[in-house]
Each structure stands twice: as structure tokens, then as C-alpha cells.
Symmetry: C2
Subunit: 142 residues, 2 copies
DNA sequence: TGTAATTTTGTAATGATTTCAAACATGTAA
DNA sequence: TTACATGTTTGAAATCATTACAAAATTACA
């Protein structure tokens, strides 16, 4: 029994070949991929894989809290196999998404927050990453 | 010249009838409506209004920082005419979106944040609102 | 082995958003 | 005022991510 299957079982998810492949891909590639990225990366090694299976599987993984779904991009959903609490930064130039630390204390006041029962927190930063800032400077100088 | 038109001008937006109507609706209805909500609410008083115009106008308003776009709901975008910094809570039962205070200090560390140039911060809470918590209790008791 | 339950697959449908070109409105110069 | 240029609105059609669905494949287990 491999480690990814055990990880799925610990979330009460039956570890099929497809689910293992998708979960493994997410854990080994912390690049916050989209459905299409996951699908096209896994297809060469799993030629019968269906896009619908990727959608289905990601929904199952989400429902069992085995991944985070990111709505930082209004065009499409991105997925994160790292479920430890953290924030995300998306560059408006290159579209890359980076992990960020969660500010101190942001998790603490949740239970006291008025009468709402807060179950999930999403913190998104948007702007320009280091690499794209350099590119912008070069363009201005030319 | 009405106050909404002045508001648009202060954001360098030419105040057409449609733009005024949409901006006014957003400012007078802090319910974080969707495109379809805005369209169907304005249609009776502006029968020639096109859905495309609502999309176009919201994009113009966003580009000129006259509103906030919320990607808290993965299904569709919600809009907020209140541009003072604040967070949002969405109820997973009824879908309502509420304004929330931004935690102390969350805006301060932005400039120091590694080498990223942060331009926008979005903080979303998800869970169950007070009213839906009451409903859930009633259902359990019956 | 046989049968029920679950999972995967591919196709078709859905629905939010965008594209596009024509119609319309507005501003300005003569 | 007219003429022209510019910007805005409109509605139809296209796009594209996602979902629905039913058949096929796989798994669990008696």
C-alpha cells in the first residue's frame, strides 16, 4: 500500500488508480494546477483517463477535505494538495500562484465572529511577482 | 449632475445612463448582486438594457476601481459597490454574502511581503449564517 | 462464481461570459 | 445647424469551464 493510498484512506476515500494518480500529482506538484493541467499531465501515463473523472475526483477529494480549491482566478478553479492553512498570491502578468504565510492571528478570532459559523477561510493576494516586475522594468528601459 | 454621476467622474468614467443606473443600483443595494440580479432588477426601468452592457459596464467600473469583484462563489461573480477595504462571508446554505471587518493589521505587512508587489487583497469566509443555523436546529428537532 | 455497488468514461447539455459588428448616442469643429 | 469622429450600447452567436447522464468497467463480497 503506497503512501498516497494511505493518505486517501485517512480521508475516507476509496483509493482507486485514478484517485491515487490525481492526489499524487497534486502532492508532488505544488503549482496549484487547473483541471486541464492535471488531465493533460496524467494522460500520457493513463491514456483512458477522462476529463470527467478528473472533475469527479477533485470534487470527492474536496468533499473529504483532502485538497483546497482556489477561486483566486475568475476564469477557472485551481487545486492545492497542501491542506495546511496558508494564503495564496497570484501574479496578474504570468498567472503563477504562490503559497504565502497566513498573517498571525487571522485564524484565532473565527469562533467569536458575530453569529456566523465560519468553516473556511480563503485569503488571496493579487499583484505582480518578482520575475514579472523585472520584465516590466526591462520593457520600460527599451 | 447627480451624485452617482459625480462618483463615476471621480473615477474617470464617462457617466452614461446605463453606467449611472448600474453604479447607483450597486451603491443602494449592498447585497453583492450577480450580473443577472443587476440586469433583471434594472430591466423594468430600462427596457432596452442589454446583458452585455451590464458585463461591459461592470468591467469598466472594475478597471477604474469603482467596485469590488467577489470570486467567493465558484459559480458566478458577485459585485460590491462598497470599495472601502473589508472582508466577506458567504453562507453555504442560503448563498447570502455579508460584509465583514478586515482583521487588524492585515493591510500593514503588504509592502514587506517578500518580493511580490501586492495590489489587491481578498479575504473570504465561508460557513453557515445565523438564520440558517437556526433552520438546521429546527430540522434536527423535527 | 455471481451479483450488487461503486467508479470510470464519453457524449451531450448547461450556463456564465466573451466576441463581434451593427446601431445608436455624444462631442466637436466648421 | 450639419458633418464627422469617437465612444457606447445592443443582440446574436461563439466560447469554454463545468455538469448531467447513462452505459461500460471495475471492485467488493456473499
Amino acid at each position: 500500500m503506497n503512501i498516497t493510498a494511505q493518505h486517501l484512506l485517512s480521508h475516507n476515500i476509496k483509493p482507486s488508480a485514478q484517485r491515487i494518480a490525481i492526489m499524487k500529482y497534486l502532492m508532488e506538484h505544488p503549482i496549484h494546477p487547473t483541471v486541464d493541467k492535471i488531465y493533460s499531465e496524467l494522460l500520457p501515463d493513463m491514456p483512458t483517463l477522462s476529463r470527467t473523472t478528473v472533475y469527479n475526483t477533485l470534487r470527492v477529494l474536496e468533499e473529504h477535505n483532502a485538497l483546497l480549491t482556489l477561486n483566486i482566478d475568475s476564469k477557472t478553479v485551481h487545486y492545492d494538495g497542501n491542506i495546511t492553512p496558508h494564503a495564496h498570491f497570484m501574479c496578474r502578468c504570468c498567472g503563477s500562484i504562490y503559497d504565502m504565510p497566513l498573517p498571525e492571528g487571522i485564524l484565532n478570532p473565527i469562533p467569536k465572529m458575530s453569529s456566523f459559523n465560519v468553516e473556511v477561510i480563503k485569503l488571496y493576494y493579487k499583484g505582480v511577482c518578482e520575475a514579472c516586475q523585472q520584465k516590466e522594468k526591462l520593457e520600460i528601459n527599451n
